[in-house]
Symmetry: C2
Subunit: 220 residues, 2 copies
């Protein structure tokens, strides 16, 4: 979390009671990922420099190339980690939530809350700062898994009687909706008044979607 320049975190493999400067550093790879995640949230993906990450980890500018093919692969790793965190948050929200409409709404609002809590990470996860995401299949898979909770909750909400095509469309619409609301929020597109009623407006949009979807499920 700290972006200090002196002394690095050295999170894992602390078997020797925090050596001041390890010659081979022990676990440079994860130290780089941590440093990148911290710098990302501070400066944004477009301003994140590979050299600055190396400096934050107290190694030379060329050292990271032993662990990553280049800057983009490091960003992809951070994004993949972000999708796993989102997946965990969504699973927790699904367990915490109640039943029926409120369950759907809870999951949607939790999704938006994740984006607001880690804005730069969320932006990175959805393509900001990386040209070709498709080159990293691990990221695509993590992304797909992060959306499973919403898919399951919506299917449960619609009921087993709903045809699978409708369920699929609802899942796609639901993902599109929360993702769109999150992106619009991060852009500041909706901040024309006080920032506090942004959440209300998003809640209203999600409630409207969920309520009208429920009406559709009972009368297809």
């Amino acid at each position: 979390m700290n972006a200090k320049k002196t002394r690095n975190g050295n999170r894992t493999a602390t078997r020797k009671a925090a050596p001041a400067r390890a010659y081979h550093h022990g676990d440079l790879r994860s130290a780089l990922v941590s440093a990148a995640a911290a710098l990302l949230e501070r400066d944004g993906a477009e301003a994140l420099s590979f050299r600055a990450v190396a400096r934050a980890a107290n190694v030379s500018q060329a050292a990271p190339y032993n662990h990553f093919a280049g800057r983009e692969e490091l960003l992809a790793t951070v994004a993949e980690q972000g999708f796993r965190a989102l997946e965990a948050a969504q699973i927790a929200a699904a367990e915490r939530a109640g039943t029926g409409v409120s369950r759907v709404i809870s999951l949607g609002m939790d999704y938006i809350a994740f984006a607001i809590a880690h804005p730069q990470l969320y932006r990175l996860m959805f393509g900001v700062g990386v040209a070709n995401w498709c080159a990293y299949p691990a990221v695509a898979e993590a992304k797909h898994r992060a959306f499973e909770p919403t898919r399951a909750v919506l299917a449960d909400y619609l009921g087993a009687a709903t045809p699978s095509a409708t369920r699929e469309a609802a899942a796609h619409a639901g993902w599109g909706l929360v993702h769109g609301l999150a992106m619009l929020r991060l852009d500041g597109s909706v901040a024309d008044r006080a920032g506090s009623d942004d959440l209300e407006r998003e809640a209203a949009a999600i409630e409207l979607f969920a309520a009208s979807l429920g009406r559709m499920g009972s009368a297809p």
Copy 2:
């Protein structure tokens, strides 16, 4: 459209029958915007260099600073132009469309079609490659105007009897939905099968949203 290195376009102010190299270039500002738009769609916002734009316009690397505060302001200008193009497309789609549900669906599908037709421009318009969009109020205003057609069509679709809070929520949800679907598409998040049924899936999502919204409008 051409990204050749020799000879520039010189689009406007062609009063002297295409002078080979104008000393003061006539209208460098719009030439830079055109060159930037072309390079943007070719390489993406993150790979767009201010120097390359200057080269494409046959001027020195420092010349653009007479017309733009920096790289970001040039990108903001391109984005603003993009929002105006989107607004025009949405207005045209609203006039072209029929009535009722199909009108709503047409507008939504046209929105997604715009994003697919100009993927890098659309990405730029929604924050890719620029740290603080808020610093450019002209962009925010153009963005707001680009969404007016959808807002109007949805309000018309719901009917005057619908309370304004519901109309506002529906407009926000509609924008979020189409924007989210567009972004997911551009990320390649939904391309797990043949690319051709992506449009079908988006249409299904929008139809589901519009149909269930209509049901809500008639029974609030």
